[in-house]
Symmetry: C2
Subunit: 103 residues, 2 copies
């Protein structure tokens, strides 16, 4: 991740419906599309009972532009119509961070 | 989640080592302990290739107190000594949020 402060995180927490035909393909496509958006910094995702996907951005404007991306809007509508039992989106400012790496 | 603004998120992203004896027990114990800390608002977690755990707090002071909790300090030291290949902690302020719930 090529992060530099200040930057922002979009936490997308969700649960899927029982039937999720087409979801994985769309999720992969959106991940690729996000990577090519201006201001994109990185992405992390994991799913068990709850799915958590976090995207990182260099400005709130970049987040707004990604939300309004036409292909992303189609995916969001599909998510509401077909795939998500619930979701919650939180727009956050990263205040500070620290790491550990085993060598 | 009994959230009220302003509030804060601690994003803990990580990967485990090949051997993780004792990790799951400790993670469950820490989740229970966090729930009883002052200022605790909620918790979300999922693990695939990467593990993501997010805890939500009503103040930065509550986050600092949780980090300094003696039992949690023992768990953090065990994590560095034994369990984590890497981790990254991000302290965030939640600026805004929105939801979808299928009924």
């Amino acid at each position: 991740m090529k992060a530099h402060k200040p930057y922002y995180a979009v936490i997308f927490s969700n649960a899927l419906c029982a039937s999720t035909e087409g979801y994985r393909d769309m999720a992969g496509k959106m991940e690729e599309l996000a990577k090519n958006q201006p201001g994109y910094l990185g992405f992390e995702t994991a799913r068990e009972e709850t799915g958590i996907s976090i995207s990182y951005w260099d400005s709130l404007e970049a987040i707004a532009a990604w939300k309004a991306n036409v292909e992303h809007e189609v995916a969001q509508a599909m998510g509401i119509k077909e795939w998500y039992q619930w979701y919650k989106v939180r727009i956050c400012q990263v205040l500070r961070e620290y790491n550990f790496n085993r060598e």
